[in-house]
Symmetry: none
Subunit: 391 residues, 2 copies
């Protein structure tokens, strides 16, 4: 089993000027391949520090993936650091030079002298063509280890990964990896941890937990020789987890609450309207942006905070008014008052759903930290609406 490590280079990352989206991309790709990623690190454009980080990776990992530092400027030193560590010489590759020259001439631009260094390569490296930029990547195999060197711009990196790195890695890896995510709401992270604890320490399939504004997610990952065998492992473990968490599970994999709700509305030939105070438009935004929204979303109304009353009755009234005003089958409302939250003691929010012959209300209490709290309230309201539609 390959042990992988990512090294991201760029002083701008260590100054917090940009967020590194390449590491999560590569990490996700490696996970899908069943390659264990044990470390990732970021280092500035400094030869000695980069060398030390790469040297350490060379000692502890089989597959080292570097990103960035392949540009034409003085700060771009990745090629030099690898050449230095492997004790190999950088020489100008005639083919790469031709391609580079062509890149500029087809765009009617004269090639700056600095760009020539991008055509330098070491004997152990095979170039990886860059179809959207000037920096070729490298695939280096030496002493039983692999270094994959990728450019920093995410578009260039991802296309190089898909067309040139992924096929090579797939050929190397024997096993098939499949994973499945189970999404829950209504239990704390600690409680879910307690309930599924025996499975968390198992090796195949593995189980991992993630907490977010949408609730606790569990990811099952199985490795096997065939896809079928991996799926069987997943199906069995999913059944175990469904037996335990049962009604707290609302979806799997890429499913979203607004997507599920949209599906229920469309299949029931129902339309929806929204009224909201407190969350000021976020619920309308979630529902009006769902797939097939044109088939069910009739409109929304934003009410100034505190203007409606803020109790179960006012939330129910808002839901009904929205339903009637927008000529929808169902109205949903969130009513709450921001000033109660400012006191820091938690805030009462009411969620109501109204259909012609049926209605329901719930009181939701949240600690008074606004941005995260509002996302939790939106999830709570969507879960409430989904359960109403399923009832």
């Amino acid at each position: 089993m390959l042990k992988a490590e990512i090294i991201t280079s760029g002083t701008e990352l260590l100054l917090g000027e940009i967020t590194d989206s390449n590491t999560p991309y590569i990490a996700d790709q490696l996970a899908a391949l069943g390659i264990d990623l044990y470390y990732s690190s970021t280092v500035g454009d400094n030869y000695q520090r980069f060398y030390a980080v790469l040297e350490q990776a060379w000692k502890r990992s089989d597959l080292i993936i570097t990103t960035g530092g392949l540009g034409p400027t003085q700060g771009d030193i990745t090629r030099n650091v690898i050449a230095g560590l492997l004790g190999e010489e950088l020489t100008l590759d005639t083919d790469l030079k031709k391609e580079l020259t062509a890149f500029f001439s087809t765009r009617g631009i004269e090639m700056p002298e600095n760009n020539l260094k991008q055509a330098n390569i070491i004997p152990s490296a095979v170039p990886l063509r860059n179809t959207s930029g000037t920096a070729p990547g490298w695939w280096v195999e030496k002493d039983g280890r692999i270094i994959v060197t990728l450019p920093g711009p995410p578009g260039e990196l991802q296309s190089m990964w898909q067309y040139q790195v992924l096929p090579r890695l797939k050929k190397m890896s024997g096993a098939v990896i499949v994973s499945r995510t189970i999404k829950t709401w209504g239990l704390s992270e600690a409680r879910v941890d307690e309930l599924v604890s025996p499975f968390l320490s198992e090796a195949n399939p593995t189980l991992a937990m993630y907490a977010g504004a949408g609730g606790i997610r569990l990811r099952i990952t199985a490795k096997a020789d065939t896809e079928e065998a991996a799926r069987t492992l997943i199906t069995e473990r999913e059944k175990d987890i469904r037996d335990i968490l049962d009604k707290y599970i609302w979806g799997v994999d890429d499913e979203t609450l607004e997507g599920i709700i949209g599906g229920l509305l469309v299949s029931g030939n129902l339309t929806l309207a929204v009224a909201e105070s407190f969350t000021g438009g976020l619920l309308a935004h979630a529902l009006s942006g769902a797939p097939e929204n044109v088939k069910f979303f009739k409109g929304g109304r934003i009410i100034p905070c505190g203007a409606s009353g803020t109790d179960a009755a006012s939330a129910a009234r808002l839901a009904k008014q929205a339903r009637v005003e927008f000529k929808a089958d169902i109205g949903i409302a969130i009513d709450g008052n921001v000033s109660a939250g400012d006191a820091g003691m938690g805030s009462d929010v009411y969620i109501a759903v109204d259909a012609d012959n049926q209605r329901d209300t719930v009181k939701a209490q949240y600690p008074a930290r606004l941005p995260y709290m509002t996302r939790r309230i939106i999830t709570h309201a969507l879960i409430f609406l989904k359960n109403f539609l399923n009832a």
Copy 2:
């Protein structure tokens, strides 16, 4: 000069499940303090590997900041790793236990047994209170080094940083560091770079550029012996930049567009209503959540995508309707059609503002990348409203 290093822990990061927003946040904060960040790394929830990474950081850095791994689950091992490296014992802190118990009891929830481990601490550590979650952080000073241990959820981390870590770091640093952020809209990153380029390579004050959905921001950072001297450096550089960027500058530091707009409305004794299609509630959310919103926000209406017409006239009509319906002095509308964007060729969006005796409309064209695009459109609409109010 302190040499800093960040260690982010969490297997979910190495599986690419979430993007690490804490490292850029801390990196940016350290840059503003003039503290050099040389390395950042990510390690999974594995005791041995985490220990090795922390041990290496202990050898090469003076200030080590860890994020994540402070939760109640089995995978949360940060406390254990630090205790292990420093050879200290974890013991239950009575005060922390009391606070933890209170956190749950005020929410009417029984505390899961697992959460108790969050009240464990080592002798070298001082607890950092978590005002929005259950995991206290640690400030550890030992053998001339500092370890700052922060929780993973960004909201908890940032508030702990601002109120408890930042004041301690400021006290330690001899020089006074002052910075000021200038916020612009309407110029590309490359164009701003060209215009301010001579200042980007200066050492004191430094100038850094950041691009985002809110436009290009420039941050001036000055170091001096006294706050007054640092402020003088900043004021001079700010004047240079204002001479160059002039009308593209819309705010400074923590100012937000909705805050500025709210201020203009309140001081002019004006009220506002919103109508929006396409952005489905995000503009209403921004404006209804602004400071003093109770004084000016009268309400909003969300129109299903494509239901209104989607041209300059329909946007103007929506703005006027919102103003009249909610009895406001000013109406603002965004009108656009999502299906145009799905074609992938860019999407036309119209923004209109309507007052009793004055109105204005603008057409905004955006590449069809939805999530980022909607945030740009909201900024564009807010800039348009601000200019309307300033005219």
